[in-house]
Symmetry: C2
Subunit: 474 residues, 2 copies
């Protein structure tokens, strides 16, 4: 059994090897940062998408799909937004041998594709709220180092765009998105911190941005997604207006909610260990793998293994039967490195007893059967998910340290929590102190029981914005 590199000290080496042994992606495609979703990786992504779809639709959003290409003329309508993307979009200039009259952009995100249509769709206050989302690929001509799922040039992207009656309704949609993400993250066993970004780091065109950040070990953090309140910043340029009950015309207030394949990268990064990937059962391509172990003589385990497969599948579990020629140890290793939550070993003795030896990906061993075997498997998966969540939450809480002065920022081996007055000057001093970023103000409960915030660690003024976090974003 091969051990992967040590995860904390050599994170990226560990990460890339974990992907490799699990065969989740193939990065040998001849364009840098555009990778192939292998069957196993695609299945994980499909389950991830299912979680996002169920939660966002439960919050009253409807699926749509807008075109991949955006005419330059529409793309350039919102100035701030464009400044943010100008240097990282791909341009389509020719169709066949013909030069296009208007160049087209491969969407980096879909504000400028959707909002001209929203201007046609929204007529009256009765059309509001308009909550739609799409799961599509977006494209960014990324110049930083690319890494599968974490930073790529073709991104599997989830984006909700909404139109609301007014600023308050839009703020409520931001809250609803936060609640949806909490439900998604729970199912993915991902701890995270909602953080309101400082002014100088918000999304281009946003009134404010809430990022969903998670520590990745040391002082590194990963932005899993973001939620933005746009006020009228886009509805103005795109003319998205509605008729009020008294016959007036008003611009809508807008919000967006963005997630991506980074969630898969985060699941791998947070749960994985030196034996490889560890999937929560929500996204595991196979939740259970059944491994028959033929003995010398005795009962043939094959028929019982097949029966188990059918019975568990009938309960809508994703189950794989590995009846290949290899020795059991090689199979155990493969399915561990690929992150399967539960392995059922079926030897001659188990076949006679109509039972199985269940070993979960965290090493817990149990006998299941002969009675109520499906219920027992479901219950073991649920126990496993709880244990995985507990382990991740504990590592999460251990990722933070309070810094009470600029001096205490140094040697930042954890994400720093600081009191901050909210001014840009002080924010930049914090950033200089860790040679990283002030992520912003924590929205809602901070991750660990904290004392009341003290004065700003830079200027000593009252820190009205409560706790802020500083770290090295990936």
């Amino acid at each position: 059994m091969v051990e992967l590199p040590e995860k904390t000290s050599a994170f990226f080496e560990w990460y890339l090897e974990a992907l490799e042994v699990a065969n989740l992606t193939d990065k040998r495609y001849p364009i840098k940062g555009m990778n192939v979703w292998t069957p196993y990786g695609f299945l994980a992504r499909r389950e991830l998408d299912r979680v996002l779809i169920e939660e966002i639709e439960a919050s009253g959003s409807q699926p749509v799909e807008f075109p991949t290409l955006i005419p330059q003329t529409e793309f350039q309508k919102e100035k701030e937004h464009i400044k943010g993307f100008d240097h990282e979009v791909y341009w389509v200039t020719h169709g066949g041998a013909t030069k296009l009259d208007i160049p087209l952009v491969l969407r980096p995100t879909s504000e400028t594709a959707m909002y001209p249509m929203f201007a046609l769709w929204v007529r009256s206050h009765q059309d509001l709220p308009l909550n739609v989302y799409q799961i599509v690929n977006t494209f960014r001509y990324e110049t930083k180092t690319t890494r599968p799922f974490l930073r790529v040039r073709e991104i599997h992207f989830f984006e909700e765009h909404t139109c609301q009656l007014d600023e308050e309704a839009a703020s409520r949609r931001v809250e609803a998105n936060l609640a949806s993400f909490a439900a998604m993250a729970r199912r993915l066993a991902l701890p995270y911190l909602p953080i309101r970004r400082p002014e100088w780091d918000k999304f281009p065109g946003a009134f404010y941005s809430v990022a969903l950040d998670t520590p990745l070990g040391g002082s590194r953090t990963l932005q899993l997604g973001s939620i933005h309140h746009y006020r009228e910043n886009f509805s103005g340029p795109y003319g998205i207006r509605y008729e009020t009950p008294d016959g007036g015309q008003r611009l809508v207030h807008q919000t967006t909610f963005g997630l991506s394949e980074r969630l898969l990268g985060a699941i791998i990064a947070i749960h994985g260990d030196r034996r490889g990937v560890v999937f929560p059962s929500s996204v595991a391509p196979y939740q259970v793998v059944v491994i028959p172990i033929p003995g010398k003589g005795g009962v043939d385990p094959a028929p019982w293994a097949s029966e188990l497969l059918s019975r568990l599948r009938a309960r809508h579990l994703r189950v794989h039967l590995d009846n290949g020629e290899e020795r059991p140890g090689a199979k155990y290793y493969r399915w561990e490195s690929r992150g399967v939550p539960l392995r059922l070993e079926v030897g001659g003795r188990e076949a006679s007893a109509r039972s199985a030896t269940a070993v979960d990906r965290l090493g817990q061993k149990n006998t299941v059967g002969p009675e109520a075997i499906e219920e027992k498997v479901l219950s073991l998966l649920s126990t496993y998910d709880d244990a995985l969540r507990t382990r991740a939450d504990s590592a999460f809480r251990d990722s933070f340290r309070i810094a009470r002065s600029l001096q205490e920022l140094a040697g930042s081996d954890r994400v720093r929590l600081v009191s901050w007055c909210g001014s840009e000057a002080c924010g930049h001093q914090v950033e200089a102190g860790i040679d990283g970023a002030l992520l912003g103000t924590i929205v809602g409960e901070p991750p660990t029981p904290l004392p009341a915030p003290g004065p700003c660690i830079a200027c000593g003024q009252a820190a009205s914005t409560a706790w802020a976090a500083a770290a090295h974003p990936l």
Copy 2:
């Protein structure tokens, strides 16, 4: 109630209006031929995809996703193939302000994206067969008239690509794809004809192509999809080789199977009527709509309507409760034009009796409840689907006429069935006779009981290729 234009005589007017009243797409997006999938259209597409996914995975294919962009260098490796697409691909030439070293093509189909990777994936005969598929968007700089779902520039595309041991194994995969499509088409209630295309009309790079054609009224046909046997035409240029058990190296034989959103266009075109869209329950965004009809006094139908909604949803039916303010007639019209298979009317009388009046989209009326209401609804949907299939099959059989001479080809108000010797010269004579195309030789059973084929209608030689069809492809 507005009637749509007459379907046969004014097909495209009818088609575009049917899409409009059902709100399945928005074609006002500012790029010709790139349309917006509205929520209702997207939901129909999602169900369509589900049918394709279930059937292709049941046939032993695994999902993957390859990048959208293909480097020019890879794209140009197979000469015949490129000739077919050269004039209809979109070119990405710039990333930000930087001119790319190697221009990129937006995939028109994914042979040239996948096959360099297949050359890495396939090493030994044990890696075969390799059967993978993806559902992605493809792009063609279409110069003909575009029409939603039928001919567009951004296409929602299903493509299976396989590698096989030899020519015979590849032929067996073609047969397996034909069987999968038969199962898909049955669920979509789509009659069709598998037709082996003549040499001069096969897919660029194919050894042979089987098209899946369906009549659309008059002498028009629509190609729903196609299955290709590539032999070694691609594996040669891309070097997809395997080691044989005796240590030699052989090129794989390849096949592909392509379908698209055209299936949705075909469902609308074939089943729709003058009141609008008619969906089979397999793809209907809502299979059942519940409409409470408040009366003057009497029992309030709302609680019973809600209970019906929950109970039917618990049986995994897609159900919508329309409890808006409009009068019932307006609701009936809306959901009829949107193709909902079954409407449940719930007035005060029904609420008292815990029953409902069920009216299906073909006009069949029944009372359901108070007993076994879920089973009865499921059974009515099944009866409705059968009736829809019977109606479509009957129209299909009526779409063909035998032509026994070149003279009989004239005035082609139906798809012509002819005896053909198989030569290109005679094929072109048939095409000239109808000013259309010789679609090719019918694979398997022809659509109507036919006599033994006579001599070729052009040259009088024996027609060894049995029946061929000639029509005006859309």
